[in-house]
C-alpha cells in the first residue's frame, strides 16, 4: 500500500514538474514576440511617423484621475499610431511604490513598465536611490514649456528626468449655501488668515450646525500646505533638518492645535472617511489640492453649491494665499524595451498636445503644468458645478504665486516625526517648542 502511494506521489511530482516546464516555455514565447516588434518600432521612429509599432506599459494610480487621463492620452496616440499597443495598469499608490522599489532594487527590468507615475515628494528619493534606472530626458522634452517649480523637483545634477504632469495647487473649496446661511460672501473668504478661517468656522458651526472642515488631525496634508505657503519645509535648501527653530512650522502646529481646539471640525480617519464626509454634506469646506475636484464632483446632487477661494495664509510674514499639495509626474524607465516609443508618446501628448490638456481639465479637473495650455479656452470656461465660477482661471493664477521649494529626500520621515508628537500637543501635555524639539531629535536619529 505504502509503495503504491509513494509511486503515485512520485508520478504526480514528475507530472507537475513537467507541467511547470511547459508553462514557462509558453510564457517565454509570448514574451519574445513584442521584443521583435519593438526593435522594429525603434528603427521606424527614425523613418516615418505612421509606422511606429510596439508596446508601452504604464503604471499609475487613481482610476478617476491619472488612469482616466492616461487612457485618453492612449486613445489620442493610438489613433495616429494604430500599430502601437499601450497598456495602462491601475495599481493602488502604495502597491505601485512597493512594486517599483522591489523591481528597481532587484536590478531586473523585465517586470517594470516603460512609464510610471511618481509623486513629487518622492521624486528625488527614487532618482538618488536608483541611479541609472530612470531615463535622462534633458533635450528630449522641452522642459521650458513646463512650470519651473515642477521641473526643479525632477532635476538631479543638472539633468531632468521626468515629464511634469499635474499641479497640486491648493484651494479653499467651500459650500456657498452653508456660508451664505452664516452670512458670508465670496469676498469675505478671499485673502484671509487661518485665524480668520477659524472665526468664520465658529460662526458657520453656530448658524448651520455643520462642521467647517472635515479633517484628519493626524494627516500631514494641511501642514504641507501651510509650510509651502510660506516657502519653508522641514529641511532648509541644503537638506539639513530645520524644525525646532522654524517659525513657519511652529505657526503651522499652533494653527493645527487652534483648529483642533475650536470644535469646528468633523474628525475623520483616512481618505475614505474624509471624502465621504464632504460628499455627505457634513462639512462646509475642504482645503486641499486641486485634484480633489473629481471627488467633489462625484456627488452630483451638490452641483452649484460649491465655490473655490484662495487658501488662508499663515499669520506670519512671507506667507501667501497660495500653496501646493501633492502632484505627480511621469518617468521613463531606462533600458525597457519600449523606452524610445514611450518618450515619443509622452512628448507627443504631454509635451505638445494643447487639446489634450483642455479636455482633461474639463473632464477630470486636472490642472496640468504645461504652460502653453493655460491660455486655452477651457481654462477660461465657467464651471456650473461651482456656480459658474471660472475656477481654472483662478487656479492658474494662484499656481503662479506658489513658492518653489526643495522637498528633499525625507518628507515622509519628517511627517511621521512631527505627527508622532502631535497628540501630546493637542492634549496640551507638552508645549509646541518642546514638541518640535522632540520631533527634530527623533528625525535626526532616524535619518542619520
Amino acid at each position: 500500500m505504502k509503495k503504491v502511494l509513494s509511486l503515485l506521489l512520485a508520478v504526480l511530482m514528475i507530472l507537475s514538474l513537467a507541467a511547470c516546464g511547459g508553462s514557462t516555455e509558453k510564457s517565454k514565447t509570448v514574451a519574445d514576440e513584442p521584443k521583435t516588434d519593438v526593435s522594429k518600432g525603434q528603427e521606424d521612429t527614425k523613418e516615418t511617423l505612421a509606422e511606429k509599432s510596439g508596446k508601452i506599459t504604464i503604471w499609475a494610480w487613481d482610476p478617476n484621475f491619472n488612469i482616466a487621463i492616461m487612457n485618453y492620452a492612449k486613445e489620442l496616440y493610438t489613433k495616429d499610431n494604430p500599430n502601437v499597443e499601450i497598456e495602462v495598469v491601475d495599481i493602488a499608490k502604495g502597491d505601485l511604490e512597493q512594486k517599483l522599489h522591489t523591481n528597481l532594487a532587484s536590478g531586473v527590468i523585465d517586470g517594470l513598465p516603460e512609464i510610471t507615475l511618481i509623486e513629487d515628494y518622492n521624486a528625488q528619493k527614487y532618482l538618488q536611490s536608483y541611479p541609472g534606472s530612470f531615463t535622462d530626458l534633458t533635450g528630449k522634452i522641452n522642459h521650458n514649456d513646463f512650470a519651473e517649480y515642477k521641473v526643479s523637483l525632477m532635476t538631479l545634477d543638472g539633468k531632468v528626468y521626468g515629464v511634469p504632469f499635474d499641479s497640486g495647487v491648493a484651494g479653499f473649496f467651500y459650500r456657498s449655501d452653508y456660508l451664505e446661511q452664516a452670512g458670508y460672501k465670496h469676498e469675505d473668504l478671499v485673502n484671509i488668515t487661518w485665524d480668520d478661517f477659524i472665526e468664520i468656522g465658529k460662526n458657520v458651526k453656530q448658524k448651520t450646525g455643520k462642521a467647517m472642515l472635515a479633517f484628519d488631525l493626524n494627516d500631514g496634508g494641511l501642514m504641507r500646505i501651510m509650510m509651502q505657503s510660506a516657502g519653508k519645509w522641514y529641511f532648509d535648501d541644503n537638506g539639513n533638518i530645520n524644525i525646532a527653530n522654524n517659525d513657519v512650522i511652529k505657526e503651522a502646529v499652533k494653527t493645527y492645535k487652534a483648529i483642533a481646539d475650536s470644535g469646528i471640525i468633523k474628525q475623520t480617519s483616512g481618505w475614505d472617511e474624509w471624502v465621504a464626509a464632504f460628499n455627505a454634506g457634513d462639512s462646509a469646506s475642504v482645503i486641499t489640492g486641486v485634484w480633489i475636484i473629481g471627488s467633489i464632483k462625484a456627488e452630483e446632487s451638490q452641483s452649484g453649491k460649491w465655490k473655490v477661494a484662495p487658501i488662508p495664509r499663515l499669520n506670519i510674514s512671507g506667507s501667501v494665499n497660495a500653496s501646493n499639495l501633492g502632484g505627480s509626474s511621469w518617468y521613463v524607465i531606462e533600458k525597457t524595451k519600449g523606452k524610445d516609443l514611450a518618450i515619443d508618446f509622452l512628448n507627443t501628448i504631454y509635451g505638445g498636445n494643447n487639446e489634450f490638456y483642455q479636455k482633461i481639465l474639463v473632464d477630470q479637473g486636472a490642472v496640468g503644468t504645461y504652460k502653453p495650455a493655460q491660455s486655452g479656452a477651457s481654462y477660461a470656461s465657467e464651471d456650473a458645478f461651482f456656480g459658474g465660477q471660472k475656477v481654472y482661471t483662478d487656479f492658474s493664477e494662484w499656481m503662479k504665486s506658489i513658492p518653489a521649494i526643495n522637498y528633499g529626500l525625507y518628507t515622509y520621515e519628517a511627517d511621521s516625526a512631527i505627527f508622532t508628537v502631535m497628540p501630546e500637543v493637542y492634549s496640551g501635555s507638552i508645549s509646541i517648542d518642546e514638541a518640535l524639539k522632540k520631533a527634530e531629535e527623533q528625525l535626526k536619529n532616524q535619518i542619520n
Binding site: A105, Y130, S133, D219, S269, G326
Partner: protein, 304 residues
Amino acid sequence: MTGATSSRSFVKSNNLYGWLFISIAVILLAVFLLYPIVYSLYLSTTSSKGIVQNFVGLKNYIRLVKDPMFLLALKNTFTLFIIQVPIMLLLALILASLLNDKTIKFRGIFRTGIFLPAVTSLVAYTILFKMMFALDGFINTALMNLHIIKEPIPWLLDPVWAKITIMIALTWRWTGYNMVFYLSALQNIPDEIYEASEIDGASKVQQFFHITIPILKPLIVFTSIMSTIGTLQLFDEPMNLAQAGVTSATTGPGNSLLTLSVYIYNLCFKYMPDFGYAATVSYVIVFIVAILTVIQFKVAGDKS
C-alpha cells in the same frame, strides 16, 4: 564474508539513493530558506539608499538602539503583546471549557460561531472594524442610542483608544482559533477525573484551575508562543486600521499603531529605501522571538 560486503554495498547504494531523494528538498531549502537567511544577515551589515549600498558593519545595530522610531515600534508591539495575548488566551480557555460541557445545547453552533472569525481574511475584517469603529460608525451609534455614552468615543483618533481598538479586533479574530486547540485537548481528558474530583467535593472553579489548566499546560505554552510570534509580526491590522500605506503621516494617531513589521515596511517602501537597516530590524525580531520562547518554556517549567 561475501554476505557482509554485499550488505555493505547495499547500505551504500541505499545511502546514495537516500541522498538523491532528499537532495531536491535540501537544494530547495538551501535556495529559498538558507540563502535568504544568510544574505539578510549580510544585508543587515550594510546601509543602503536603494541600490546604493555601503558596508557599515555593526553600525546598524548601534543605530537601532538610538532610533526613537524603532523604540516606539518596539514599545507599541510589546504593549499589545503583554495586554492582548493573556486576555485572549484566558478568554479562549474559558470559552473552551464552557463549550466542552456536554449539557450545553447547540454546542456545534456556538463552536462554529466562535471559530468563524479565524477563517475571515485579515484585510477584510480589519476594514470592517475600521468602518464599525469610525467616529459616527456602528459601535458609537449603538452605544449612544443605548445611552451608555454621551459623546462618541474617538476609537481610531486617540492614541490610547486606537490601541484598545486594535486589541478588540485582534481578540475577535484570534480567540476562536486558540479555543479550538484547547477544545481538542479538553476532549481528550477522561471524564473520570472530573467525576472523581466531584466526589471529593471540588467545585467547578477548582476543577478548572487544578485539573483543566495543568493538563492543558503544553498547549497553553504552544498557543502563547504562537501568539507571541503572531503579535511580533503584526502587520495587516495596523496597516489597514490606520490606512497607513499611502500618504498618512503616521500609523495610527501619534504612531500608536506602529508595529515592528510596519516599521520594516516603512523603511523599505515609504521612507528612503534602506533595505539593510530593514534587515537589521527583522533580525532583531527573530532574536526577540527566540528569547521570549525560551522564557515561556522556562516559566512553564517544562524541563524536557
